[in-house]
Amino acid sequence: MDFKKKVLDIIKNKGETSDKLLEILLEVQNKTKGKYLSEEALIIISNELKIPLSKVYGVATFYSMISTKKRGKYLVQICNSSPCYLNGGKMVTKTFEKLLNIKVGETTKDNLFTLEYTSCIGACDIAPAIKINDEVYGNLTPEKIKSLLNVLRKEDVK
């Protein structure tokens, strides 16, 4: 019930017209634990905006920032476009995979970290770069990645 009210509030706030679909999907995802869109959320949005569920799902899965799969508290997105890929991007992927003991596309067992690739995030001047939630981190080295993960783990305990 609580979740439904949250979704309804977002829809009301953004506007109940079909062109607001993408804005609503993004906002609901942002406000959902696990940063994803559950089937329940998609159904509520479909009913409220009077858009077929198939279309809501189609839009949600077209855009790579939207996920229909549960993700970790920290969404680590590694840029794999050429300026990062050729400037240490491969090292970044390898280091994260090793330290988190997961592959790209997976979430750690404690639901803390999800590892994903992203296309260019406009941080080519500080390549290799990643995004963790809304924060961009650049000029990464294995040591920096290690200490970054330590800081985030400590933050979580707080």
Partner: protein
């Protein structure tokens, strides 16, 4: 380097309207609203020879006149802030550094073409820039620069922000329009073009952030003075985003006519660790790769046109001697495979097949016939894809096969002199 369009970026507080006005902000808008008719504004933009800065370099004034000549009570102006071309980060500098200038350009555009509603479509990867823009719009509404009867005149204009959600193809104007309408961002068949039938079927002007940031400057200094910057065929300045193996990466505003050599060695301080330059990719992942013999190429629309290359978004990516061309092409094509919207067959299938062949060659199983296959696939995509994404996706492949053919042969023979394409190695 020069400071014309980016003159206020980093110099003023981005959300201080007082700072902006103290630096001649909104002078152009006042001039336009009180002293000029819409057609005079369009003539001034036409006379400035401004061409779109998003990548396609279409004459801006001409585009404006298409929208202005449509008889429709409802028209739209869209600011394309979906900066997704890999290696491009110049619009972000303008949006974060001087949002009022971009918005001023939009209001002037609205007045000139007869639109009352504007949209800023900003990529989802820039949440902080979106916040700045939201605040900027609120400030302008309070100050009477947006809303009903702007500065007491009969002209009304307001702007809404829409967010992208991680789709490169939405930088293409019809895909962007689809996205604003709440659909998956798949390109439309053209014609009709947006100036005739765009957002919700209405006449729509879509301009890039940097293009719009040029507008207040052109209107304040006049097209004549504006044309003193740059070259005869390419007026004004361009923001370049330089990345890769140079010492000083970043965004630099330059006058047209500058050479790549000057950009890389004079402005960016040459290559890091004294490495040798291998290639320069101009215009992001969809741009051409040029060998060091072409470093004296001038950045000028006509000069580049003669060489059959484009300036694109103004991204300059520098690859050094350690870069394996095949590895680079692989990452480029992976990008396009991921970003293809899937609507047309050449792009949806072409990218996949090119990657398969490149992988085969990297793995040492390639043959000479694979090169012929790559060539015919690339040309097919270039000629028959529905939108700019598929048409430009094989550009890097085509140009590296032209200028670095020996490296493809080398891999077919089973070795790589850089050794950096080895799977999983770093």
């Amino acid at each position: 380097m020069i400071n014309l369009i980016s003159r206020l970026c980093g110099k003023i507080s981005p959300l201080s309207i007082k700072d902006y006005k103290n630096n001649k902000g909104f002078k152009a808008l006042e001039k336009v609203l009180f002293k000029m008719e819409p057609e005079n504004v369009i003539d001034e933009v036409k006379n400035s020879n401004l061409r779109g800065r998003g990548g396609a370099a279409f004459p801006t004034g001409l585009k404006w006149s298409f929208v202005a000549s449509e008889k429709n009570e409802c028209k739209y102006v869209i600011c394309n802030a979906d900066e997704g071309e890999p290696g491009t980060f110049k619009d972000k500098i303008l949006l974060d550094g001087c949002p009022f200038q971009v918005i001023e350009g939009m209001i002037i555009a609205g007045y000139a073409v007869g639109a009352n509603t504007g949209y800023i479509y900003i990529r989802g990867e820039y949440p902080k820039s979106r916040n700045i823009l939201t605040k900027a719009l609120d400030i302008l509404r309070n100050e009477g620069y947006l809303g009903k009867n702007i500065l007491g005149k009969e002209f009304s204009f307001d702007i809404e922000i829409r967010s992208g959600a991680g789709a490169y193809v939405c930088g293409e104007e019809t895909a962007l329009i689809e996205s604003i309408e709440g659909n998956p961002g798949r390109s439309r068949f053209k014609p009709p073009y947006p100036p005739n039938q765009g957002l919700w079927g209405r006449p729509t002007l879509v301009n890039n952030v940097e293009t719009l940031a040029n507008i207040p400057i052109i209107l304040s200094i006049g097209s004549k003075e504006y044309k003193e910057y740059g070259t005869e065929s390419s007026a004004g300045t361009k923001l370049l985003s330089v990345s890769g193996s140079v010492v000083n990466k970043g965004v630099y505003e330059v006058e047209f006519g500058i050479t790549l050599r000057e950009v890389i060695y004079d402005i960016c301080g040459g290559l890091k660790d004294n490495k040798r330059l291998k290639f320069v990719q101009l215009g992001g992942s969809s741009g051409a790769c040029l060998p060091k013999e072409m470093l004296d190429t001038k950045l000028d629309f006509d000069k580049l046109n003669e060489l059959d290359i484009g300036l694109g978004s103004g991204a300059v990516f520098v690859g050094n001697e350690d870069t394996c061309i095949l590895d680079f092409i692989k990452s480029t094509m992976e990008f396009f495979k991921h970003e293809s919207c899937g609507k047309c067959t050449p792009c949806r299938e072409g990218n996949r097949h090119i990657i398969n062949i490149i992988n085969r060659i990297i793995d040492g199983d390639g043959t000479e016939r694979d090169l012929e296959l790559l060539n015919s696939l690339a040309l097919l995509m270039k000629d028959t894809s529905l939108c700019g994404l598929g048409q430009a996706a094989p550009t890097a492949l085509i140009t590296t096969m032209k200028y670095f053919s020996e490296e493809y042969i080398e891999h077919i023979k089973g070795y790589c002199k850089t050794g950096s394409c080895g799977k999983g190695e770093f």
